[in-house]
Every structure is written in C-alpha cells, then in structure tokens.
C-alpha cells in the first residue's frame, strides 16, 4: 500500500457529517483527503485547471455522492468523462438505496465502483486504495509517456534517424551505409540517443518506444 502514501482522496458530499466521518476514516488508514460541499464546488476546482491534458499531480480518487442539491453527482461524472479524467481520477459513487440502479449504470459507463450507504467495515477504504493504485499506475505511465516524449523532443534530426534504425535492429555498419555517414559517427549518435532516452541497450529502447 506504499504507493498511496502521497495520494489525495476527494470527497464530494452535501452532508457535512458524512464528509467529516469519511475524512476521519480515511485518515485512520493514513489517507489524506480533501472535501467539497457540492458537485458545483468540485467542478469549479476542475475549471480552475482548464488545460485539456491536466492530470492530478498525485494519485487520487473521487468519492462522489449521487444525489445533491444543485449539480448532481452524475452531471459531474459526465464532466469527468468529457475531460478524460476517469483513469487518473477513478470515481467511487456513494449511494442511497434509491440510487442503486443509477449507480450501476454509472459503473457500466466507467465509474470505478459504487458503495451503498451505510458502508460496512473497511470495504470502502479497500476500494479507495485500489482506486488509488489504478490512479497511481495510470499517472506513472502518463508521466513516462510525457518524459519519453520530452526526451524524443530533445533528439536532433540525425539522432532520431539513427534511433529509428537502431530500433529496427540494424548493426552500426548498415546504419552508416544507409545514412551515408561513417560508422564512428553512428556510434557517437547511438551513445547520445541512449543517454538522452535514459536507456542502456537497444532492446530497452525498443521496449520504451513500443509502449
């Protein structure tokens, strides 16, 4: 459960008692949380970060009450779908009995899970941790992808050509022939590509790019 240490759980519920109890429960499992009193408030929080590729800086998940005054939980859920945040910020619906069919429907559309009030034992917290793990892994791969793209952007034109041919598995001699440069030059470029892409071998590089 260590990867969740720096995680943050968002609680959206109109009932202060429920909010505080949930926060207290999560803290008892060393999970920090942040509470919002309504869906509108959380929507405002999201709208303050309008970039389309914005992702939470740390793993997180959203505990969302279905029925609230003003914007409903479902409407907020639609916004999250629209912004593609479902993977990095999994949603767990909190429902009363009346809302179960709605919640089931929501799960079919990509919600992580739903929990019927009142919650029993640590089942909710366990699900929260699973959600946080998914968030963490999603964010990790998102970050890896981001750094890879950053590294690729660092390469010169010649270095990218050399890298493409290296990934295709050609030996330095053939690469030099194809690019009409010396084998020595190829070796220099190859070392610089490995350095910039933070890999130690051609196989590692191929794996990285395949992802």
């Amino acid at each position: 459960m260590q990867p969740t240490q720096d995680a943050l759980v968002f609680i959206v519920d109109d009932d202060a008692g429920v909010r505080e109890a949930l926060a207290w429960l999560l803290r008892s499992r060393r999970l920090p949380s942040e509470s919002f009193t309504s869906a509108d408030a959380f929507a405002a929080f999201l709208n303050a970060r309008p970039e389309t590729d914005w992702r939470p800086p740390q793993p997180g998940c959203l505990l969302l009450d279905v029925r609230m005054p003003g914007m409903s939980g479902l409407a907020l859920f639609e916004q999250l779908i629209a912004r593609g945040l479902l993977e990095s910020l999994p949603v767990i619906f909190l429902t009363g009995h009346a809302d179960v069919p709605t919640a089931v429907d929501a799960v079919k559309r990509g919600a992580f899970d739903f929990c019927e009030k009142p919650f029993s034992d640590n089942a909710l917290v366990d699900r929260v941790e699973q959600a946080l793990q998914r968030s963490a892994s999603t964010l990790e791969s998102f970050k890896a992808k981001q750094s890879r793209q950053h590294n690729l952007a660092e390469l010169t034109e010649r270095e990218s050509d050399v890298m493409r041919l290296v990934v295709e598995g050609l030996p330095n001699k053939l690469i030099a022939d194809q690019l009409d440069i010396s084998v020595r030059t190829v070796e220099v470029h190859r070392a610089r590509v490995f350095d910039k892409m933070a890999v130690k071998s051609a196989v590692e590089l191929a794996n990285l790019l395949r992802n």
Partner: protein, 662 residues
C-alpha cells in the same frame, strides 16, 4: 270546451239558415205553382165564357131563322097558331110567340106548352114597352131586335127574367107586321149551353152594373170561386155572361211534391258540388296529413331517445324504434302489453307496479326524470332515465302518459370508468408518496448511519495500531466499535427492506405511446383546468416513438407537474395556458430519448425557492407535503432520465423530463 262552443254555434246557425232558405224556396215554388194553376183555370174559364157567348149567339141566330120560316108559313097557310105551337114545343127557351101587325096590334099569340101562361094574370100589356123597344130597333135595322130584360113576377111568388125578340115580317120588301118571341133568360142558359159547361160552374146573365138577371148551375158558396165575364151584345140589348167556377183551390200537395223534388234535385246537385269540393279539400288535407305523419315518423325514427305512450290502464299504445332497439323487443311484442311490462326486471316488478299505480292515480312525475333499471330481451339490465308527461286528447282529457326514455347505461359506465381511473391515479399517488417518503427517509437516515459506520471503522483502524501498547483495552474497545458498526449496518438494512417493500413495483417497465400517457392524465388535468379557468394545449403527434416506462408513475409525474403549473397560474395570470408537449431530443450514446415538457405562464420560481426546489418536505403551498417534485425527480431518475426546469419567457416556468425510447 270553451273554445269549441263558438264553432259549434256558427255551424248550427249555418244549418238553420240553410233550412230556412229551403223552406222559403219551397214556399215560393208552391205559391208560384198555385199562381200558374189559377191562371190556367182563369184562361180556360175565359175560353169557356167566350164559347158560351158564341153558343148563345148561334142559338139566337138559329131561332131567328126558325121565326122567319114561321113568317113565311103564316103568310102561306092559315094555321099560324099550329106552326107556332109546334115551334114552341121544339124551343123551350121561348115562353110565347106573338104575331103583331105594323101598329103592333096583336094578331095572334101562342104560349109555350111547358108552363102555365106567364103573363096570365097581368096580360100582355104588361110588357108592351119592351116589345115597342125591340120592334123599333128591328124596324130601324130591318132585322131582329131585342128588348132589355124584364122581371116578370110569377104566381108562385118567384119571377122570371124575360127578353123579347122582335122580327119584322116583310112581304115583297114591305113591312107587314112583326113576330115577337119572348125568351126566358134562364132557359137560354139551359138550352143553348153545353151541359158539360154547366156541370161544374154557375152561369148567369148580369147587367153591366152586376145585377144578376138569370142564372143556372150549382152554386157552392164558400169554396174558392173563379169568375169569367163576357159581353153578349145583341141588337137593342147588351148583357154580360158571367161564369162562376167553384172549382176547389189548386192542390197544394202535388205542388209541394214537385217543389220538393225540384229542391232535392237542386240540393243534390249542390251537395254533389260540395262533396266534390269537400273531397278535393279532404284529399289535400289527407296528403298534408300524410306528409305530416311521414315527417313525424321520420322524426321519431331518427330519435335516439326511446318514446313510449301508455293508456290509463298502463297498456302500451305506442313505441318508437329507438325504444324497441333499447329493450330488444319488437313493436309487435310490446304494443298492447299491460302491467308488468316485459322489460321490467322480475325483481323490480313490485316497485315499478307501485310507481305505476301512483302515476295512474294522477301523480305527476318529477320534472328531472326518474331513474329506472330496465331489462333487455336477453336479460341484461341497463339504467334509463324516464321523463313522463300526461297525454291529453283533443277534448282535453288525459288518456295516458307519454314517456321519453334515455339509455344512460353508457354514461354511467363512462362515469364509472372515469371514477375508477381517478381512484387508480389517486391510489398510485398515495403509494408514490409513501414510496417517496420512504426513499427520503432512507436517504436522510443513511447519511448519519454512514457517518456512524465510518467513525466506527476508523476507530477500529486506529485501535489496531494502539493494540501494541495495551492489547487488553484495545481488544474490548475494538469489540464495541465493531458492534457500533454492525448496528449501523443493521439499521441501514431495516431501512432498505422498508424501501424495497414500498418500491416493489419499480421494475414494471412497459412500452407505451407518449400520447397514451397524456390521454390518461387529461381527464384529471382537464377537471382542474376547468376549475381554475386554464386552457390546456396538447402538442403531441400520434406517431411519436414509444417510451419504456412505469406507466402509472410517469402519469403521476405528468399530473404533478401539470397541477403545479396550473396552480402557478391561479392568481393574476392574463392568459392561463398550460402547454403539454412531447418531442424527441438528441440521443446520448447507446440511448434515444423522448422529452416531455410542461410549460405554464404563471408567476415563475423565485431564486430562493429554486435552491430548495427538490428538497424533501419543502413546499410553497399551504396544503402541500413538499414531496411532489422530489417524487417526480426520483421517478424520472429511476428511468435514467433527467428532470430539469427553467423560465418560460416572457412569463412562467418550463419543466421537462426525459424518458428512454422503447
């Protein structure tokens, strides 16, 4: 009664005047016939009189010739007396013949053998003046001459009217003497006149002044007398011959008969004329009547109201086709049928019989009609409304009752249905309200229960770490925390079971046309709309896609929203129009939707109300529970739809919700 009298009177007056006219005409006819007959008789008598005069004249002339013969005989042979005597025997009208000379001295005389000597006791000198008068006339005219008549008293106390004839006797153109004949006037009448003439009438000679001289014939005084007069002019004397007929007055009877026959012929002709005219009029009236009858029949046949007439004994005297159709019996089966009528249900016969008796006793039925149950021929019972009115004939007497019978069973059935549907909706409404309350309670209780459970779980988590320092205390506290959590969960389960119990019907989804949903709530909406003076506008095509929903619950939502809309327009809304609209909306991935819109033009929703609009038990109405909109949202969300609201510019509010298409 009062209006008939004058007509009768005038008719009688007409008949009376006709009769009087007839009698007058008969009288006139009879009188005219009598007059005619009288004139006939008079004419005949005048002829008789002139015949008589001519007979007398002939007789006198013939006698003159006989006397001339005597003259010649007297001159030739001596025995004049013999000749005269034989002449006197032949001529009873002569009383006496004399032969006188030129100086009128009596030369010879002979008396009639049929009487005693007329002048016996007076002598012939008694009548000398008449003889002189007659002979002077005869001498002047050289022919026979007559004297005026003279009354000669007789021995028996009576007398005779006599008249002298003087005939000059000529010898070779020289007057030599006179022959004088004395006539008895009544003998002239007897001998010269036709016996037939004398039989039936009285004949007499009168002077010009009317003095009767001689008469003959039967006198029947007292009977009706007809008189004819004729002048008899003789040389030297003029008399009047008078005929008196005592012929009875003309007979009235044959005249009356003739008159009557004539009258009857005239009457017959005029009656024929009248009859012909009457016939034409009757035909015209009959054809009018036939038209009127046909009109009336068409009217009766076209009625859907049953008509029935009954006489004062309760027998059916008339029924129209609508009535036959209603009860299923033919007219033949019903006409003349008495009590109990075949369409009375057997179990009601007693009651209807009593009612009938009341009616026959003359009690008028109530104006608004009487509700009854009738039975069709197949035994089916149905409710009718009967209006009855007394049947009055032309004389103003009541002869029975006329009834209009309305079949109200269909109306009753519709009312029943409408009431049933209203009850069903109300029951659903109650159930839905209870369900919503359960739902709200469960939500409201679940929140604190969730908090309790969370705290309990959190506490256990903390105790888990504290167990390292004081395992004993941690263990017992952990138990307590566990129990707290379990009890909270139990409470949640109780609530869930109640909720599930009330919401058992949640899953009944049926495929239904939007129009059907609206049609089902319209009666109730229309009812309230009428009460509040709201016009309801429906805009829903018949061919819209069907929706998949819990019918009664969605109807409840439509009803709630419509009621809210109408109540919002209750006060000072100028154009109270409630619009119910159904339309398709853009689909979401994997699902097509229908949108139901309820728009009013009322006072709209204030901002502070908007925030709490769906809050349970919040209401702006005095009698409201504050569950309506909350329930609506629950229902719509259970169907996966969304309930929204917004302003309806320029005035009012729009509520809309979506339901999945089937």
């Amino acid at each position: 009664m009062r209006w008939i009298a004058p007509r009768l009177l005038s008719r009688w007056a007409l008949w009376m005047s006709l009769l009087v006219l007839l009698v007058c005409m008969v009288g006139t006819l009879v009188w005219l016939a009598g007059r005619y007959e009288v004139s006939q008789v008079e004419n005949r008598m005048a002829e008789d009189a002139s015949d008589a005069v001519s007979d007398i004249r002939n007789g006198l002339t013939r006698n003159v010739q006989s006397l001339q013969a005597l003259q010649f005989a007297g001159q030739a042979s001596a025995p004049w007396e013999q000749e005269a005597a034989s002449l006197l025997r032949e001529h009873r009208e002569w009383l006496r013949l004399e032969w006188r000379d030129v100086q009128l001295q009596l030369k010879s005389e002979v008396d009639t053998p049929f009487r005693g000597p007329v002048f016996g006791h007076m002598g012939t000198m008694f009548q000398m003046p008449e003889v002189v008068q007659a002979c002077s006339v005869a001498q002047r005219q050289s022919g026979p001459g007559y004297s005026a008549s003279t009354y000669v008293p007789q021995a028996n106390g009576q007398g005779l009217e006599v008249m002298n004839l003087c005939l000059p006797v000529l010898n070779n153109g020289e007057l030599v003497g006179f022959t004088v004949a004395t006539y008895a006037l009544n003998e002239i009448l007897i001998n010269f006149l036709n016996a037939q003439l004398l039989r039936s009438q009285e004949v007499s000679f009168t002077e010009a002044d009317g003095t009767r001289l001689a008469m003959h014939g039967a006198a029947q005084r007292g009977a009706r007398v007809f008189t004819a007069k004729q002048l008899l002019t003789l040389p030297g004397n003029t008399m009047v011959l008078r005929l008196d007929s005592w012929r009875a007055a003309p007979d009235v009877f044959p005249n009356v008969l003739t008159a009557l026959v004539t009258m009857m012929a005239i009457a017959l002709t005029s009656v024929m004329g009248l009859l012909a005219r009457d016939m034409r009029r009757r035909q015209r009236v009959e054809s009018d009547l036939a038209d009127a009858l046909a009109f009336r029949k068409a009217m009766e046949d076209s009625l859907v109201t049953g008509l029935r007439a009954r006489d004062s004994q309760g027998r059916i005297t008339y029924i129209n086709p609508a009535f036959c159709e209603m009860v299923g019996f033919t007219a033949k089966e019903l006409l003349g049928h008495g009590i109990p009528a075949p369409y009375w249900p057997p179990e009601m016969v007693d009651e209807y019989g009593k009612r009938q008796a009341l009616r026959l006793a003359g009690n008028a039925p109530p104006r608004e009609g009487v509700e009854s149950v009738f039975m069709r021929k197949n035994g089916e019972r149905f409710t009718v409304l009967i209006f009855e009115a007394p049947l009055i004939n032309a004389n103003g007497q009541q002869t029975g009752w006329m009834s209009a019978v309305l079949d109200v069973s269909e109306q009753r059935r519709v009312e029943e249905l409408s009431r049933a549907s209203q009850e069903r909706l109300q029951a659903t409404a109650r159930l839905a309200t209870v369900g919503e309350m359960a739902s709200l309670l469960s939500h409201e209780l679940n929140q604190p229960l969730a908090a309790i459970a969370s705290y309990a779980t959190g506490s256990m988590n903390l105790l888990h770490e504290a167990a390292l320092t004081d395992p004993q205390l941690a263990s017992s506290l952990n138990d307590a925390m566990q129990r707290i959590g379990q009890q909270a969960e139990r409470a949640g389960k109780v609530i869930k079971s109640v909720h599930d119990f009330v919401r058992r019907r949640d899953q009944s989804r049926v495929d239904v046309a939007p129009r059907t949903l609206l049609d089902n709530v319209m009666p109730l909406v229309a009812l309230q709309a009428r009460k509040l003076g709201v016009r309801v506008e429906l805009r829903c095509a018949n061919d819209l896609p069907h929706v998949l929903c819990d019918r009664t619950m969605v109807e409840q939502v439509l009803l709630n929203l419509s009621r809210n809309g109408m109540q919002a327009m209750q006060d000072d809304t100028p154009y109270k129009t409630l619009t119910l609209l159904v339309r398709t909306v853009p689909p979401t991935p994997g699902q097509q939707w229908m949108e139901f819109v309820v728009a009013d033009q009322g006072h709209g929703i204030a901002d502070d109300v908007t925030e709490k609009l769906f809050t349970p038990f919040f209401t702006t109405k005095e009698e409201g529970m504050g569950l309506g909109l909350s329930l609506c949202r629950t229902v719509v969300e259970q169907h996966g739809g969304v309930l929204q609201h917004g302003p309806n510019p320029p005035r009012g509010t729009v509520f809309s919700f979506t339901l999945p298409q089937a």
